[in-house]
């Protein structure tokens, strides 16, 4: 009897330990998010806080500057912000229609055999590492642009837009497809019953019903485009100053600014790269806030 009691106690302890072990691991994700936000902001805001050991920099000059010359102590990123936004905007304008139309084909029109080819192809597209997109851009798109561009080099805003447009396709397609699939068949039947054609039904009934899901896909695509680094770094040109004047001008997105110089930067230069990360992070947070607004009460769930 006493032995049983002991065993029970031992088991109870074991159960409790296990419970806390699992609980602790569940908090790791929360801790990670908090740590990432803390460290990136903490280190990135140092240059703007008076009395910083590595020297100070004016926040307004940082955000409105059109030159990045670390050797001269000039750290302006406005032209990078503009470059990042233009590239993202262009990629969305070109990529979203292609993505949505492809998703419509997969979800509503494709025969089974075609689905069996297209869906794995989209998955493969999502699985290609971004470096290889950059390689493709460097080996194919940049030389192609060089032929039509008035500028001497093919690395340009246009090259970035094309590479990013391809890269957001799988995101837009998969999310739009699942949004379309979650529209109840009764909607389609109702529309057909009223004599509408298939296309009319898709564009006037199904797509509006899947609106918030599609929007979520677009916003995720924006997030992917603005955060993309390695592919873009190979095709952007990364100039040290100047707003892009045309689609053939080289640009220097925020992400590549960080990745290119981090390996040899030190002191204030390094801290200004961290500060660039803060600006990028703010954009990402905004995008995620918009995303959670959209997905709340969406048909996706």
């Amino acid at each position: 009897m006493e032995k049983d009691m002991k065993l029970d106690k031992k088991n109870e302890l074991k159960e409790k330990l296990a419970h806390y072990l699992f609980l602790f691991n569940a908090t790791v994700a929360i801790i990670s998010v908090a740590a990432i936000a803390f460290f990136v902001f903490y280190r990135g805001l140092q240059p703007f806080i008076p009395g910083n050991a590595e020297g100070n920099y004016n926040l307004i000059d940082f955000l409105s500057g059109l030159e990045w010359r670390p050797s001269l102590g000039k750290f302006g990123i406005l032209y990078m912000i503009v470059g990042s936004l233009l590239a993202t905007f262009g990629a969305i304008i070109l990529g979203v229609p292609v993505g949505i139309l492809t998703a419509i084909f997969i979800a509503e029109l494709a025969p089974k055999w075609a689905k069996k080819i297209i869906k794995p192809a989209v998955e493969m597209l999502a699985g290609i590492p971004s470096v290889l997109y950059g390689l493709f851009g460097l080996g194919v798109i940049v030389p192609w642009i060089m032929q039509i561009s008035p500028q001497a080099q093919g690395q340009s805003l246009l090259a970035v837009i094309i590479v990013l447009m391809i890269m957001i396709l799988p995101t837009v397609i998969t999310i739009t497809e699942s949004a379309i699939n979650s529209v109840p068949d009764a909607y389609r039947e109702g529309s057909f019953g009223l004599g509408a054609t298939k296309l009319y039904t898709i564009f006037k009934v199904v797509l509006p019903a899947a609106k918030s899901g599609i929007l979520a896909g677009v916003v995720l695509g924006i997030g992917r485009a603005i955060g993309e680094t390695m592919a873009v770094m190979l095709v952007a040109g990364n100039p040290i100053a100047g707003l892009p004047k045309s689609i053939f001008s080289p640009i220097r997105p925020l992400t590549t600014n960080i990745a290119m110089e981090m390996s040899y930067a030190f002191g204030l230069h390094q801290e200004m790269l961290f500060a660039t990360g803060v600006v990028l992070f703010v954009f990402i947070i905004l995008i995620n806030l918009i995303l959670s607004r959209i997905t709340r009460g969406s048909v996706l769930k």
């Binding site: 088991n11 159960e15 296990a18 072990l21 699992f22 609980l23 691991n25 569940a26 790791v28 994700a29 929360i30 990670s32 990432i36 460290f39 229609p97 292609v98 139309l101 492809t102 419509i104 084909f105 997969i106 494709a110 080819i117 297209i118 998955e123 493969m124 597209l125 699985g127 590492p129 971004s130 470096v131 290889l132 997109y133 950059g134 390689l135 493709f136 460097l138 080996g139 194919v140 391809i166 396709l169 397609i173 054609t197 296309l199 564009f203 992917r224 955060g227 993309e228 680094t229 390695m230 770094m233 190979l234 992400t255 960080i258 990745a259 390996s263 990360g277 990028l280 990402i284 995620n288």
Partner: protein, 375 residues
């Protein structure tokens, strides 16, 4: 009613078709480009050789051979040195069975086997660069001792160190993230009641999934490389990667735990088993295929990752000797080769290896989930 397809409709059908063809076409184009540029360079030598060329002095015992007493069949080739100067050199074309060059010993007394494609620079102190095969064979035939001292150069150009580094990175990151992810999922599915905490965890994993890898790189650099003083290292890279992997592993494991029917748990409880026994002996074994899929997806993610590793693990082209040494994975190397050396062929060759691996991983995860969801 008869369906009417007017001009406008056929135009829209056309657009849908073009968009779909574009999506498929671009994939074919990208794969075609990388394979056509890269695959011709991929062979056993490429996969098993060092990346950097190295030179050494070696002592080789003579033996019987057809061309020369080393049992080596030599040939002349031109190699491109850095700075694109071309140079005529003698390389080993074939090693005969009788040859003892595989037991060669370097000047530190350690074994250093010669292999095909190695360059012979000097024989017994005589510079043989620019000489013909006949001249070198003659020099070798005139040797009257039973050993020859040669300076040889291993050509490099292979990706063996990056393959090993990638494998190490996979093993190490999974070691951290799989237990954390699986335990977290167990908590969410088996213990937690719906409420604030669960929502917070869900919010956190969603946020993690939305953070771009360059931000992970920044974070990893600030925390692991600088604050914890790990330097650019395998360990800093793996720690950063393990956070990147958390959302994938938690979500996949959660799905597979949820798919275990409640009747299993009830039966186990009914037989008097306690909770932890039920989880470890009944629920987890049933969920194993799902967890395996999570691991395969994670491996794909690790292989594809570059921005975060560039800032945390560095770009050294050697096999890291310890957890605190820098090493570049295949993907990071593909980037540095493309960016710094503008060598699209070599980058594509590495890219071909990466893509083939990813195709195999995708097929594997499909196979596993298909096989086990049929139950």
């Amino acid at each position: 009613m008869k369906k009417k397809i007017n001009i406008k409709e056929s135009f829209i059908y056309g657009l849908i078709g073009i968009a779909t063809l574009f999506t498929i076409g671009i994939l074919v184009f990208i794969l075609g480009f990388i394979f056509s540029k890269g695959l011709p360079h991929v062979d056993l030598y490429f996969l098993t050789s060092q990346f950097d060329s190295t030179s050494a002095y070696v002592d080789v015992k003579l033996s019987e051979g057809s061309q020369n007493p080393l049992g080596l069949i030599l040939e002349e080739t031109t190699i491109k040195e850095k700075g694109s100067k071309e140079k005529k050199v003698i390389v080993i074309k074939e090693i005969e069975d009788t040859s003892l060059v595989e037991d060669a010993i370097n000047n530190k007394g350690k074994p250093l086997a010669l292999s095909e494609k190695d360059i012979i620079n000097r024989v017994n102190g005589i510079n043989v660069e620019g000489k013909s095969v006949e001249e070198v064979n003659q020099i070798l035939n005139n040797v009257n001792k039973d050993t020859v001292t040669m300076r040889i150069t291993k050509q490099g150009g292979g990706i063996f160190p990056m393959i090993v580094t990638t494998l190490m990175m996979i093993g190490l990151s999974l070691l951290f993230s799989v237990p954390i992810g699986v335990f977290a999922a167990i908590y969410l599915v088996e213990y937690a009641k719906p409420g604030k905490f669960v929502n917070l965890v869900r919010f956190a994993t969603e946020s993690l999934a939305g953070i771009p890898s360059i931000i992970y790189g920044l974070f990893g650099m600030i925390l692991f490389v600088m604050t914890l003083n790990l330097g650019y290292s395998l360990l800093a890279g793996a720690l950063t990667l393990s956070i990147i992997l958390l959302p994938v592993i938690i979500r996949q494991t959660e799905e597979s735990l949820k798919a275990v029917p409640d009747s299993y748990r009830e039966a186990s409880f009914g037989l008097g088993a306690n909770k932890i026994y039920t989880i470890t002996r009944v629920v987890l074994p049933t969920a194993v295929p799902g967890i395996v899929v999570a691991i395969i997806l994670s491996i794909g993610r690790i292989i594809g990752e570059s921005a975060a590793l560039l800032l945390t693990a560095g770009t050294a082209a050697k096999i890291p000797g310890s957890l605190l040494e820098s090493g570049s994975t295949l993907t990071v190397k593909a980037y540095t080769v493309a960016k710094e050396e503008a060598n699209i062929e070599l980058a594509s060759a590495i890219g071909s290896v990466i893509i083939i691996t990813i195709i195999v991983l995708n097929a594997l995860s499909k196979f596993i989930s298909k096989k086990f969801t049929k139950i």
